[in-house]
Amino acid sequence: MSGLFAGVSTRGRVLFAAFLAFLIVAPLFLNDYWLAIIIIVCYLGYTGQSWNLMLGFAGLLSIGHALFIGVGAYTGAALFVHFGVPPALGIFAAILVAVVAGSIIGALGFRFEIRGVYFALLTIAFAEFVRIMVDHSRWLGGTAGLFLPVQNREGIDLLNLRGSPLMFYYIILFLNFGALALCRWLLAGRLGYYWQAIRDDHDAAQALGINVFRYKMIAVMISSAMAGVAGVFYAFYYNNLFPEQIFSVEQSVQVTFAPIVGGVGTLFGPILGAFILMPLGRVLSTLTEHWNLPGIQLLFWGICVAGIVLFRPAGIWPWMARTLRLTVRPGKDE
């Protein structure tokens, strides 16, 4: 366990523990409205972490994460709706389908050495293919959408993911911090070193004996598996799926906001970014409510991202960690 906090100062550990403790007890004093907001915050933090694993760690830009989320969502939902398979089992199928989707894109992209922006275009293209396919699939509800039966809004049925918002709150909180721990662990291991080497210099990494194809594939597979899990959560939390919503470029782009604002390639960046963007966006929407400005929140997020890219391209987290002395540079004492 101590390895997970290597490089974090005592102050950083205390603040992290306080932050986590706050989130655990938050439902005691937050109303349903704010609980719902924190659920979305954690969802954005979690999907952001999955996206960050590809770009921030391995240098692979995806603007098609909606694809992995979407196929995960549809797989979990369709198995439940058509065959009564509980999502506790369906999630494995969802992960599998998401990983297959990721592997196809990865294998094509990496086999033909498609890098950078061109790889991103490939991810967008596949998300669009699948959106159109689902649009025309009657079995998946087509454009009219796929709806999950809602019976249980109060209790806790983890097996079937039917229950109160509180249950969803704790699930996504667990996913969010579980992903943080997972990424922290991955980054400290062989995979982390190899990914960062590939990100910083592909040719030098290969010259040092790294099978770049294999390790880029592993990055895409883990990232898409994580996104597939997010999809199952999405499906069972919202109880409805529309292809033009879940597979949209907008969804893919939204996934990128939290890590960009928090800090691409940092571990805490996606969570921090989500906690900054979402509540601010919501407050702004509420404040401007009587002017009726649809899309104000997205516009605001876009401005935030532009500002970060211009003025603090490394993101808020590295700056915050330094200013508040939450981390310790290697080789230095606190």
Binding site: Y194, A197, D203, Q206, G209
Partner: protein, 243 residues
């Protein structure tokens, strides 16, 4: 003389009709330091890249002991025991100096902790120990060159290919680097093949020199022999080189 460590047998490589390397053959004995010299555009780096697996040779064979290297990817060639540096340094800029070397050491280690333990000696040899926690992007060019070597060494190669690691170094730094390679060669028996423009370094290091010009081998032999070879003097060294 035993079996050579590296055998380059008649390799050729063309780029759209331009013959960058034409039918070049040479051998590198186990434990030797061999220099590959020639004027700009002579095909030295292309020759390196063919050996290191970046380019596939149009013809010819490359063997490391009994293993054929042709057609292997650069990572497979590294794992076969042949490490290289890049002429234009390629540090992993967001990683620390130590982490850069750990990446190389992982090639020969079972775990990250084992790899990290292996970096100490290498960093000390290259004079980078005090800077091991600095980010590679903060290093000066001479230090980046040293890092390039340290990283390649960490893969525990049997043959090290050095592509102009002395270029841009001051004379005293060059001498330090020469001493480092001599010590490595003496202490560990490491075989080295180097491309170098700094004649002072090539002459001080190499037991054997191969001269390329227009992609062809025009001379080969001991440093004393090569600097007196008329063909070499005509195209490359000129008249005034002192050994």
């Amino acid at each position: 003389m035993g079996q050579p460590l590296l055998t380059v047998d008649g390799i050729s490589k063309s780029f759209r009709g331009l013959r960058a390397v034409a039918n070049v053959s040479f051998e590198v004995e186990e434990g030797a330091i061999v220099g590959l010299i020639g004027p700009n555009g002579a095909g030295k780096t292309t020759c390196f890249n063919v050996i290191a697996g970046v380019y596939r040779p149009d013809s010819g064979r490359i063997r490391l002991r009994d293993a054929t290297l042709n057609g292997l990817r650069p990572d497979q060639i590294c794992r076969a025991g042949l490490a290289r540096t890049f002429q234009l340094v390629k540090p992993f800029k967001d990683l620390t100096v130590e982490e850069n070397v750990v990446v190389g050491a992982l090639c020969a280690s079972g775990s990250v902790s084992e790899a990290r333990a292996a970096t100490g000696d290498i960093l000390a040899r290259l004079g980078l120990k005090a800077k091991r926690f600095q980010r590679a992007s903060e290093l000066t060019l001479p230090d980046r060159k040293r890092l390039e070597v340290a990283r390649a060494l960490a893969t525990r190669p049997t043959l090290l290919l050095l592509d102009e690691v002395m270029a841009g170094l001051r004379p005293t730094e060059t001498d330090e680097m020469v001493a480092t390679f001599k010590a490595l060669n003496r202490d560990t028996g490491l075989t080295i093949l180097l491309i170098e423009h700094v004649m002072r370094a090539v002459m001080a290091l190499s037991q054997h020199i191969v001269v390329l010009h227009h992609g062809e081998k025009i001379s080969e032999g001991t440093p004393e022999h090569v600097v007196r070879d008329q063909a070499v003097l005509d195209c490359y060294l000129g008249e005034e080189v002192e050994v």
